[in-house]
Every structure is written in C-alpha cells, then in structure tokens.
Amino acid sequence: MALKLLLIGLVAGLFSTVFGVGGGIVIVPLLILLLGFGSKVATGTSLAAIGITALAGTILYAFEGHVDVAHATLVGLPAAAGAIVGTGVQQRVSGRALTLAFAGLLASLAVWLLVA
C-alpha cells in the first residue's frame, strides 16, 4: 500500500509539472487499478491530492517567473464553477455522451497543437 502510494504520487507529480496538469489522469486510474478504490472515491481523493501537487508546482514555477496570475484567474474562476457542476453531474448520470464529447474536444485540440 505505502509503496504503491509512493509510486502513484511520484509519477503524478512528474506529470503535473512536465505537462501543466494536476496529475489526476495518473492518480484516478492507478487508485482504481492498484489500490482497488471505487471510481467516485478515486475521483474525490484525486481532486484533494491534486490541490497539494498543483500548489507545489505553482510555487516552483513562480520562482522562475512562468506563472501569469491574470490568465490563471481568467480560466480558473469559471473552472471552479464548472467543477461544482461536474461533480454534481457525476453523482447522477453515466455520462457516456459527455465522455465522448470530451474525447472529441481533446483530440481536436491535440491536432491543432501539432499543426499550429
């Protein structure tokens, strides 16, 4: 258990600052696969863990002058509202259409980043 948590935490932290993400894409599946967490508890626990990871990453990058507070506010505050809606939706629906919609959105953004 402790060794698995260590492994998940280290990989999530690395992902977090190399890609600018929270690490949830690593934490959620690994909590389910390695530690047998249920999906909702895995997502809830992941969100809390990401708070610490992202705070550390923000401080580390701020020292190097890479953090733009105005832009972070512009996308981060609407996202807080979105997160409240998203967690509520998660409690009620299977969300297959939403999952597919996100897959399509991410794939098109990936193509745009590769050709831009």
Partner: protein, 130 residues
C-alpha cells in the same frame, strides 16, 4: 483583451472545470491549450495552468467531501509524495525546447482522448461505477 477572447477563455475554463469535476482531474489538459491559444508560451501556459487548477480542485474537493468521496489520508500522502516528482518535472520542462514540450503535450492529449473514447465504448465509463 477583446470581448470574444474573454468569452473564449471563460467558456473553455468552464469546460475544464466540468471535466475536472466529472473525471477527478485538475482540468490542466484543457487549461494548457486554452492558454496557448491566448498567446502564452507552452512553458508559461503549463505553469499558469497549475495555478488555475487550484480554485478548480478546491471547488471540486469541497463538493466531493459533501458526497463523502474523499479519503483524506490517502490524498495527503499522494500530495506530499508528488512534490518530489513535481520538482523533478520542473527541471525537465524548463530544460526541454518549447516545440518538443508542445509536441509531448499534444501526444498526451491524444492519449487521453483515446482513453476516454475507449472507455465510453464500454457499458459504463468509470465515474458511473460504484
């Protein structure tokens, strides 16, 4: 900053939060391309994304706590351990050329998109399981 830029940023920010709450992630996967579209460099977008994640996961955690889905000791252990990984990641990201970092991120996006598409093919995506 024009009105349409603000609408674009707010819309994609909201979508990132929706994704974050629904899948238990930070939303960075949408924040980063949005911030690049707004004119930030890849590295600045990634660093800024991490700050934008904070209000997102604070709101998401607050709601998930209400639903009884947060294991605090596990979250704390993961978070504290992740700091070492995050410190190593900053060294890697700042050492890599901008275009390499952007291509890595695009590949990650494609991978996550494929994973989401694959999951939705099966009967139930994991957030719906008990």
């Amino acid at each position: 900053m024009s009105a349409s830029t603000v609408v674009f940023a707010v819309s994609l920010g909201f979508a990132a939060g929706l994704l974050a709450g629904f899948f238990g992630v930070g939303g960075g996967i949408l924040f980063v391309p949005t911030l690049v579209a707004l004119g930030l460099s890849q590295l600045d977008a990634e660093a800024t994304s991490l700050l934008a994640i904070l209000p997102t996961v604070a709101a998401g955690t607050w709601r998930q706590r209400h639903y009884g889905n947060v294991r605090w000791r596990t979250a704390l252990a993961l978070g504290v351990v992740s700091i070492a990984g995050a410190a190593a990641g900053v060294q890697i990201a700042t050492a890599l050329p901008e275009d390499v970092l952007r291509r890595f991120f695009a590949v990650l996006l494609l991978g996550v998109a494929a994973q989401l598409a694959w999951r939705s093919r099966r009967a139930a995506p994991y957030p719906s399981q008990p």
